[in-house]
Assembly symmetry: C2
Homo-oligomer: 163 residues x 2
DNA sequence: GACAGAATATTTCAATTCAAATCTTCTTAC
DNA sequence: GTAAGAAGATTTGAATTGAAATATTCTGTC
């Protein structure tokens, strides 16, 4: 038996649009699971999950940010960010500060440890994609982007934390 | 200001592969969030989440199944399935039975209520994709599938529940 | 037949995710 | 100036997710 998981109805040819939809759903679920398994692995090896790492990298790239901005950058709701910050703070990778004159605003800063982590960061899930893309001609890469963009337009993700 | 969320570095042109990667990551995150928001909405309107609905639909399509098979069809680990079945059972949509001579195996069956739900199922996330695909020519649909497939190959999702 | 190991399902644990509610602080309208 | 409402962050609660450990049952091998 093949070691490769088959979609419920193996889609070997593509006449019926319904099969195509199944194939698309299947591929999306695969991406999700790749992401899920990757974050578990990361957590085990480096004691940092993928969302946490994304958060650290965002702070490294854009400087200190309030949670609401982080939410935008890593594309989750801000109630999700609170928990991520909590865990990063416990590990001493970030600190919460009140720097803004507006005292509702909290500023998240990387600690030295946080910067060190960002510097020699374990490869985020992105790395696999970067490596994979290297072998592809530019045209195919653009094809992937076009396809994904069409998909997201279909799904019509409503706006996130934007006023 | 636009009501549309921008990726951190708006990717308006695509020379640098790194920007393409960011764009891809961004689109993937968008798909994830669409899925997340959709399942919450579903849960609120129909008291059934997307994974639960997927599970019901799998049972409707393939007949009674053990949890391990369901895990394969809906592409999650079997420890995840247990919780989903728990909640479906509480709602009276499925029942756990011991039908197999192998007494380790548990068979999950739809109840009448479960079948009714499957019959006039609320649109799964698929529906948005189906609707979206309708307006696209076949060639573009295949392009989307090709792009996604290339991506998943890059991510090299290891096998799931398969022996 | 007994015993080691495989297979199936579950439990336990921690992280993520979001909606909704809450708390604090600011801003605006009067 | 005060009151109403907005805005930022957090809390609470429920669902999903998978790894690891556990329990039960089966399947060999000796």
């Amino acid at each position: 038996m093949s070691t490769h998981v088959q979609p419920p109805s193996p889609a070997t040819d593509f006449e019926a649009p319904h099969d195509l939809v199944k194939e698309i759903i299947y591929e999306i679920r695969r991406i999700l699971q790749a992401r899920e398994l990757y974050t578990k692995e990361l957590n085990k090896k480096y004691q940092v999950s993928a969302p946490q790492l994304n958060c650290v990298l965002a702070l490294y790239e854009y400087g200190p940010l309030p949670p609401s901005q982080i939410a935008r950058y890593i594309m989750v709701k801000s109630s999700t960010v609170t928990g991520i910050i909590d865990r990063l703070e416990q590990k001493g990778l970030v600190i919460r500060l009140r720097k803004s004159p507006d005292r509702r605003v909290i500023t998240i800063e990387l600690t030295e440890a946080g910067k060190r982590l960002a510097d020699n960061a374990p490869p985020p899930i992105q790395q696999k994609i970067i490596d994979g893309l290297k072998s592809l001609p530019q045209g195919e890469i653009e094809e992937i982007v076009r396809g994904l963009t069409k998909l997201t337009h279909m799904l019509e993700v409503q706006d996130l934390e934007v006023a």
